[in-house]
């Protein structure tokens, strides 16, 4: 069905008459495809694009922090147990700054500019008692005690930007298009990357290195974190647990847990003799060991129990109770054992065994570690919670230690008050340090994460967005397996299939799709009650045999067994109905696994999910009137959710559904319908027009390149003081847009220009993807960019003085040099600054360590200057000068120095299809070809770029933009958008072109600008959105003759920044040797490197020296100068000899006559 965007409004009219039409008509391909798209912007409006970060952080700051404090709310002194402190309530306040004792409100922009941390106080109410001193003392209560400062995520519920509209944001100096989701720590914008991990508390069946089947579970509770593995080795099953020194036969464990008879185990395993047969070797093994009773088993395990010789841990494990304790507290810790009733744990182990055996009998029962449903994403809130918990505990132990110490003292001058000794620095500094370094070191959880945070680079608007959706991998990069790197089918709709870096991180670093949401933790209690009400038979009431009875399904909640249900489908359906009715949270997933005969209910955090339209028997629940109401503003996305028209599904639940891409494709079995297919792509890939027509790696390349494109950064870009800002002077919005572009705001903060491109060969300077540019276009501002660099100067503080402002001298001979400087010694904004110009001058005390007593007037100062080092022959401008205090509270001055550049030969450009190229030559306009209408292209691209790259999307972009330019309507190229009208079809574009007198295929009749005659081919010409990338020759080109040398080797320095030499490397040397250019080798490797004249003793072969005064040449070994020859040697060689000598090796030179 042909549907254009314009027809969208018409589509509503038939709906009026639809009321009395039969169901068949309703099931027919409804014209609502266009309308349904409205849900996406609505979704993004209510949600923002980084909601997962915000939700996670909000959850932490409102709920989790309370739980953490509550769990550790009691602090008692070991010295005097009457002295205690109890935390009653915790809350996080509004972001503020305390300066000289005055608390001020703070906004993020202030923090960025002032190198501060955007944080809010953590306030607690405490109840405490300072000891009884013999009489009863009522506990005191103090409210609003600040225990530290919590960095606040921008746009989270505690941020000042929360819920602000565009105008209010502008007043706060904030860009309304900025997504938030990051922190400002010491003036740097830091984002906590989403961490990908294997699910915790879930049984995962896979093979170990030897090919043995193993079932592993990572159990993690608030107390412990331990991995339990069951391995099937040579048909025998063992338990691997860190607390045991070696693997333990599983039957011993079962016996230790109270299942003394083998029959019990076999019964629990199920009636099928297959399973019993598989367990037989293990049982034999156990009896071979002579273990028959629980006591024997425990004794056996006690021997295997690893003793923690590490004294630090002895405190925690004082009462570990030997092997039984291990089994109780560490072995599958998620299953809590009450009153030594191991029934639940046994059942769990049996379930694990059964699943292993299933895998043994049937290979495809193995779990896939790369399956997204087996993964959890750890977001900022989770990480912050871990860190906070650790710091809070540290603070409390510190408090106890300090109070003990104080109370221990025999004489105390002041009255002891425990509330006075709460250290607020521990938490503040700990949080700040982890955020700014990215090191998450938590001894308690054996966690040592590096690089958890990254600086949000503001190269382009899209780059900043990219950081918010980036997922960092769990695996180390070195693993040479393709599995985790491959595209998983379960990624569909959740993770972007295009956006991944190239190289070593390829496929490991992923990005979220447009509509993905990541869940937060949900209370289990109500769900358990609900399940029981729905007829789940509790596990503890079941006998062993009933566990695997074929007539019923196991019900698992967050990895632990709840019980059984006889009608799993009914159960699942009713759970889902309750969820759709809003009785339980939207993000609880219910999933029936028929193979494993289980119903999995998940309410834990970190699952990825996405919204889908619910369909009943293939008929979408969303009708036209819903969409109309949405358009009229009566509805929003939440009301769709609340009314059960839309629901969130996670990856596991998706397996129970049949999702139709479009309504028209729905069959009677269809349960859900996609909202829009383009939402499977992420933000970066969403910029590409017609990505579904491109070869897939090209889209991946563009995802990487879009982040390097220059353009607008944010609305507040000119108020930012970043170290490096790249801006385009005249950025444009793409003529060929996509829906994602509109949703993200790329049309407002574009990073590129619409260039008229002619695809033809021209001049030979366009080989290897080089492009030929039109000089007049460049004159008129095409590709012009601004590079702003920050230069900082600090006024240091000393013991009793500090560095001073200095007024530059205006004396005739100084005037030239000081002309940029204002009277305060700082370059004034707007001044033109060149290489080697002075931009800062201050007065420095001549003697850095002046005594504190020195009278200020006696301190002598000398001027200290800073000169600008830029490209020679280029004029930059001082853009802004800002004064602020830095981290060490020194006065620091920041200069933004701006350089405007026009494109030159060698600058890198790229279209949005992974087609990068450098500017090969710049040609006068009159030499450029021109069309019948007088159109002259801005750049010429070689057609050889197309066949091997297969970027058909680029060609369609050209056609679409050309049609867009001629008819005055922005055309669309959303991914997979043709059927739903979000991408214009080529036929329609061609028709538009023809209507405006162009050829349908976009090829124009061009005249050569040089000869004036028509070209002998029709040229494919039209606008393509081109990005200028940050790589510019000016920053890279380098050559030198004489120059600096390294201190030790006296060889030329390396690198452009040090004005280094160009190395003749091994391979270059080989070429010269092969060619036989011996004198050239001699010159390059010796004369122009590090020649050195040495005196060599012919007799002993060692180096001598020349006495400078007497000009006598002496060999210090032979003590005479009889056999000295002088020769030339690379200094590095001489150095090598001496270094070798220092290691007691004698290097000898044997000289021969040449």
């Amino acid at each position: 069905m042909v549907m254009g965007v314009m027809e969208g409004s018409d589509a509503l009219h038939p709906s009026q008459g639809m009321r009395e039409v039969d169901k068949q008509f309703l099931a027919a391909p409804v014209k609502s495809a266009v309308d349904k798209f409205q849900l996406v912007p609505e979704f993004i409006k209510v949600r923002g694009l980084v909601k997962e970060h915000l939700d996670s952080f909000n959850y932490f700051i409102t709920t989790d922090i309370k739980k953490i404090v509550e769990a550790n709310n009691f602090v008692r002194c070991t010295f005097d147990d009457k002295v205690y402190l109890r935390y009653l309530k915790v809350s996080v306040g509004k972001p503020s700054v305390v300066k000289d004792g005055i608390t001020d409100e703070m906004n993020p922009q202030q923090c960025r500019l002032g190198e501060m941390t955007y944080s809010a106080p953590i306030c607690v109410d405490i109840e405490y008692c300072n000891g009884s001193y013999g009489h009863i003392v009522h506990p005191q209560v103090k409210k609003g005690v600040v225990i530290g400062r919590m960095p606040i995520m921008l746009r989270s519920s505690h941020c000042v930007l929360f819920g602000k509209d565009e105008e209010e944001l502008a007043k706060l100096g904030e860009c309304p298009l900025d997504p938030g989701g990051y922190f400002v720590v010491k003036g740097n914008e830091k984002v906590i990357l989403i961490q990908e991990q294997l699910s915790k508390n879930r049984i995962i069946i896979d093979k170990d290195k030897k090919g043995c089947i193993q079932a592993s579970i990572m159990s993690s509770t608030s107390m412990t974190k331990a991995k339990t593995t069951l391995v099937m080795e040579k048909e025998k099953i063992y338990l691997n647990l860190n607390s045991f020194t070696s693997k333990v036969p599983i039957m011993v464990v079962m016996k230790a847990m109270g299942m003394e008879t083998d029959q019990e185990v076999v019964q629990m395993l199920g009636r099928d003799p297959q399973y019993a047969a598989l367990l037989l070797p293990s049982m034999e093994d156990c009896s071979n060991l002579g273990i028959y009773t629980r006591k024997q088993a425990l004794a056996f395990l006690d021997k295997k129990h690893r003793k923690w010789n590490n004294s630090n841990n002895s405190n925690n494990r004082k009462d570990d109770g030997g092997a039984l304790g291990v089994l109780r507290d560490i072995f599958i810790a998620t299953i809590q054992v009450k009153d030594d009733d191991f029934h639940r744990k046994c059942a769990y182990v049996v379930v694990m065994l059964r699943r292993m055996m299933d895998a043994y009998l049937n290979k495809d029962a193995l779990d896939d570690k790369d399956y997204i449903g087996n993964k959890r994403l750890e977001l900022s809130g989770t990480l912050m919670a871990l860190l906070f918990e650790d710091l809070f505990k540290t603070m409390n132990t510190g408090l106890v230690a300090y109070s003990d110490n104080l109370l221990n003292k025999s004489s105390r001058s002041t009255k002891f008050d425990i509330s006075q000794h709460i250290s607020r620095e521990d938490i503040t500094n700990g949080l700040e340090r982890s955020l700014s370094t990215g090191n998450w070191n938590l001894a308690r959880f054996k966690m040592d994460k590096k690089g958890a945070t990254q600086i949000v680079s503001r190269l382009s608007f899209i780059a900043a967005y990219g950081y918010m959706t980036k997922i960092s991998p769990q695996f180390e990069k070195s693993r040479k397996v393709s599995g985790p790197r491959a595209l998983q089918p379960s990624q569909w709709g959740m993770l972007c299939p295009c956006d991944t870096p190239e190289g070593e991180q390829c496929g490991l670093v992923k990005n979220l799709s447009l509509m993905t949401h990541v869940t937060t933790d949900e209370e289990e209690g109500p769900i358990i009650t609900l399940c029981t009400n729905l007829g789940v038979e509790d596990l503890s009431l079941l006998s062993g045999e009933e566990l695997h009875s074929p007539s019923s399904y196991l019900i698992m909640l967050n990895g632990s067994i709840l019980g059984k249900h006889r009608r799993p489908q009914l159960f699942a359906t009713s759970m889902r109905k309750l969820r759709r009715a809003g009785k339980i949270s939207d993000f609880v997933s219910v999933h029936v696994n028929e193979k494993q005969r289980c119903v999995y209910i998940a309410s834990d955090g970190g699952r990825v999910c996405r919204p889908l339209v619910i369909a009943d028997n293939g008929v979408s629940r969303i009708k036209h009137h819903h969409m109309k109401e949405l358009k009229d503003g009566i509805r929003n996305f939440d009301s769709f959710l609340r009314e059960g028209l839309i629901e969130y599904l996670d990856v596991n639940e998706e397996n129970n559904t049949l999702i139709a891409l479009y309504e028209g494709e729905a069959t009677s079995d269809t349960t859900h319908i996609e909202i829009e297919p383009f939402t499977i792509l992420g933000v970066c890939a969403g910029l590409i027009p017609f990505p579904h027509h491109n070869q897939s790696p090209r889209n991946t390349y563009q995802c990487a390149m879009g982040k390097q494109a220059m353009g607008n950064i944010a609305y507040n870009q000119l108020c930012r003081m970043d170290t490096l800002i790249y801006l385009l002077v005249y950025p444009q919005r793409p003529l060929l847009t996509t829906r994602t572009i509109e949703l993200v705001g790329y049309d407002k903060l574009g990073a590129g220009q619409n260039a008229t491109v002619a695809v033809m060969s021209y001049s030979g300077y366009d080989i290897e993807d080089a492009i030929v540019m039109n000089k007049s276009s460049l004159d008129r501002g095409f590709g012009r960019c601004i590079v702003m660099k920050r230069h900082t100067a600090v006024y240091q503080k000393y013991a009793n003085t500090s560095e001073q402002f200095s007024t530059p001298s205006r004396a005739p001979h100084d005037r030239e040099r000081n002309q940029l400087l204002d009277n305060d010694g700082l370059a004034s904004p707007g001044e033109i600054i060149r290489h080697q110009d002075l931009y800062f001058q201050k007065l420095v005390p001549e003697n850095a360590n002046i005594s504190v007593n020195a009278h200020p007037s006696n301190i002598k100062y000398r001027p200290s200057r800073q000169t600008y080092k830029g490209a020679e022959g280029e004029a930059a401008v001082v853009d802004r000068v800002a004064l602020c205090s830095d981290k060490r509270n020194n006065l620091s001055v920041k200069f933004m120095i701006r350089h405007t550049r026009r494109p030159e030969v060698g600058d890198k450009f790229s279209s949005r299809h992974g087609q990068k190229g450098v500017c090969g030559t710049i040609v006068q306009q009159e030499d450029f070809p021109f069309s019948e209408r007088g159109i002259c292209p801005d750049l010429i691209m070689n057609p050889h770029g197309f066949p091997s790259r297969m970027t058909v999307g680029k060609m369609i972009e050209l056609l679409g933009s050309k049609a867009g330019v001629s008819c005055g309507r922005f055309h669309f190229g959303s991914a997979f958008g043709e059927p739903s009208g979000h991408a214009d079809k080529v036929e329609d574009i061609s028709a538009t072109l023809v209507k405006h007198g162009f050829c349908y295929n976009g090829k124009d009749f061009l005249y050569s600008g040089i000869t004036g005659t028509p070209l002998q081919a029709y040229i494919f010409m039209g606008p393509i959105y081109y990005q200028k990338l940050k790589h510019m020759v000016m920053d890279k080109m380098h050559a030198r003759g004489m120059g600096p040398r390294q201190l030790i080797t006296r060889q030329p320095t390396e690198g452009r920044s040090k004005n280094g030499g160009l190395r003749v490397g091994e391979m270059e040397r080989d070429c010269l040797i092969a060619y036989g250019a011996s004198n050239l080798i001699y010159e390059r490797l010796m004369i122009s490197s590090d020649p050195f004249e040495v005196q060599v003793c012919r007799k002993c072969g060692l180096l001598g020296y020349e006495n400078h005064k007497t000009k006598a040449k002496v060999c210090s070994t032979c003590k005479n100068g009889d056999n000295i020859s002088s020769m030339k040697l690379p200094y590095a060689c001489k150095l090598l000899f001496q270094e070798i000598q220092s290691m007691n090796i004698v290097p000898k030179l044997t000289l021969a006559d040449s």
């Binding site: 501002g781 306009q925 009159e926 007088g934 124009d1004 009749f1005 005249y1007 600008g1009 002998q1016």
Partner: protein, 373 residues
């Protein structure tokens, strides 16, 4: 062209090319796949074998050469150049774009600019504003020249948006004021407060008299194209600057180009190779987006396609797109008939620009001749 054996060719009168060669010589064939016979044949002996002299004859050129003005207003002009070689037409085009001088702002002295537009961007924008003045009245300024009334024009721009005005103020190009006396900014001197110099302080220009005393400017002061947005000012922002214009060529920088663009196209020729009747005719008429074809009623209900407006053809090749149509319709271009369009930026009227271009080409030819002799 269907191939015919040589002996089947009709006897030709001497000094005349066979029909197909004549066509190839004078027309560009715009086929569906690619244009053919685009080149011009200049060699005098190219057709010597047929006894045809291909040399250019001045008298013939004189006789055949025509200029027809189709459209002319202050800004653009369309005219036909008939009977001229592509290279000459192209030379005019090239000269128009890059070698006819105009005045453009080259130096900007910024006294104060607090707008968001960066100084160099502002200067760049100012440079691109066309100045409505006859550049022939001015001299070029070489590197060491001091700007004077003969080689420079000075504009002043002083716009301020009052603090608290609450709205944005757009700075337009017509806010530029012409300073006929030259620059008002004093040069920084060695001794700025020289008390005994009661003469006027030296400025960045040294005008001996005011430009508006010149008869050319006394009645019509120098202006720029109005309505071009230069910048926008927020409350409290101000721009104060002086812009110095000088004479230059388009090849140095596009701002000196007197034309927005100048180009030509060859006269389209649409030939119906066969009679196209009835449905085909209607189809053909419908196909063409620019209505090149018409239908003629032949009576008895029969219809006949005719080529009514070949000039409108944009070469979309829609009429010959479908297979089979290429045999019915031929799209061609006349090689020596150029529809020339000049879009002036406003400094000079387009017709003057063209005559200037001709003069420049003449100049070049003369220079070549003198240097060769």
């Amino acid at each position: 062209m269907p191939k015919t054996p040589l002996w089947d060719l009709p006897e030709l009168p001497k000094n005349e090319l066979p029909l197909h060669l004549q066509l190839q010589k004078t027309r560009v064939f715009c086929n569906n796949d690619a244009p053919t016979h685009t080149e011009n044949i200049h060699y005098s002996g190219a057709y010597a074998a047929m006894g045809v002299d291909n040399s250019l004859r001045l008298d013939e050129f004189r006789k055949n050469f025509k200029v027809k003005i189709i459209k002319l207003n202050e800004e653009d002009m369309e005219f036909d150049l008939i009977g001229i070689d592509a290279s000459i037409a192209n030379a005019f085009r090239r000269i128009l774009i890059s070698e006819v001088p105009t005045m453009a702002i080259e130096k900007v002295l910024v006294a104060n600019s607090s707008s968001v537009v960066q100084d160099e961007v502002l200067a760049h924008r100012l440079g691109l504003i066309p100045i409505i003045v006859d550049p022939r009245l001015f001299d070029y300024m070489s590197e060491n020249d001091i700007p004077n009334e003969k080689n420079s024009i000075v504009f002043k721009l002083h716009v301020k948006n009052k603090r608290g005005s609450g709205e944005r103020r757009t700075v337009f190009s017509h806010d530029l004021q012409w300073l006929p006396f030259g620059s008002e900014y004093a040069l920084p001197t060695e001794n700025p407060s020289d008390p005994n110099s009661n003469t006027k302080p030296k400025t960045y220009t040294s005008y001996t008299f005011s430009q508006d005393t010149l008869p050319e400017f006394s009645s019509n002061p120098i202006t720029v194209t109005p309505g071009i947005i230069i910048s926008k000012l927020g409350p409290g922002q101000e721009i104060e600057l002086e812009a110095h214009a000088c004479k230059g060529l388009g090849k140095t920088h596009a701002k000196w180009s007197p034309v927005a663009t100048a180009w030509y196209r060859m006269l389209p020729e649409v030939i119906l190779l066969q009679d196209i009747e009835d449905e085909d005719a209607e189809e053909l008429v419908k196909k063409c987006p620019v209505n090149v074809f018409d239908i003629e009623d032949m009576g008895k209900g029969r219809k006949w396609a005719t080529v009514a407006r070949p000039r409108a053809c944009t070469l979309c090749r829609e009429c010959i797109r479908e297979p089979g149509w290429e045999e019915k319709v031929a799209l061609r271009r006349v090689k020596d008939h150029f529809i020339f369009t000049i879009e002036s930026t406003g400094a000079l009227p387009p017709e003057v620009l063209f005559t200037e271009a001709v003069k420049i080409l003449e100049d070049k030819c003369e220079r070549l001749i003198t240097e060769m002799s």
